[in-house]
Symmetry: C2
Subunit: 183 residues, 2 copies
């Protein structure tokens, strides 16, 4: 039950439309909590009904109208209260590891290809994160408190991508180059 909190968090910096939020969730916060626009619109409806958000129709010239949402006072309070609750880590689910449990002659080449593709994906993510860090978070100790938190999330992302890349290389080393033992 945390999409609502992720949305509220994104609204801390000011009102956003559903469309804006969907784009926000493709970057930034979205690196740690993904959501599709369908989910977002439904959640916005619920949160508005619950009184945590306020909707306001905004007319635009040359573009469709949009609906901007902003946090109400109760919304702010609920968010602040949530930040003080226990977080539970939900185990990452990943097909790839399940497939590795069935490694055999028939799927070995396919899995090697998949791992190579992953390596490239993680590389791209890592470079993106690095760029963001260099531009906006070069000196963590000098940041405002709020942005220190964002920096730490980014730092986790950077470490995660680097770790996964290292693993991919280890895996490829073993799968591509080691002699085959009989099963």
């Amino acid at each position: 039950m945390a999409l609502s909190h992720a949305i509220a968090t994104a609204l801390l910096d000011g009102p956003l439309s559903g469309y804006d939020l969907a784009r926000r969730f493709e970057t930034s916060l979205g690196f740690f909590w993904a959501a599709s626009h369908q989910q977002i619109y439904q959640e916005l409806k619920k949160l508005t009904q619950a009184g945590q958000l306020e909707a306001r129709r905004v007319e635009q010239s040359g573009r469709p109208d949009k609906v901007e949402y902003k946090l109400t006072e109760p919304g702010h309070r609920a968010l602040a209260a949530w930040a003080l609750t226990e977080s539970r880590r939900r185990p990452a689910k990943d097909d790839l590891f399940v497939k590795l449990y069935q490694l055999n002659e028939q799927n070995r080449a396919h899995l090697v290809r998949e791992i190579k593709a992953r390596l490239a994906q993680h590389q791209a993510k890592a470079e993106l994160y690095e760029k963001i860090r260099a531009h906006h978070y070069a000196d963590p100790e000098a940041l405002s408190q709020r942005r220190q938190g964002v920096y730490l999330a980014l730092a986790a992302g950077i470490r995660y991508e680097a770790m996964f890349m290292d693993w991919c290389r280890e895996a490829l080393e073993l799968l591509d180059h080691s002699p085959l033992q009989p099963d």
Copy 2:
């Protein structure tokens, strides 16, 4: 739609009951794909109806009867075919990072406590994985192909825990010891 595949994968080594599977998912495969017993029993029912599994009632002395499931031929084939499909990484969702986006004076101490608790959890996991590696996977190149795959999943787990511990230390360093900048 991969719980069914995770279950089928666990059954590659021989028939298991729902209860056995639930325990299996608390360790081993469960490190990479978690499932509760409720989910497992329902999935077993579906897979049996779909002809991918065969159920057999087994009487036991001094214990309740159990129902053992094993892969049928179609089940085997479906699993092998699945291993050749593309895996998509689903982004890890973690409350903690969303909370960090709202770091402030009020929640800072709480988040520090949470990160300390995480550090301890990851430490425990890391030690468990290390023990398993030392006992069963000391020499990866000498393993059978199948067990090389399992080893690689374990290696990913070990790297993940180590990476997260490092991040926790970085975060604590910044949050506990850095001077506060105004927001």
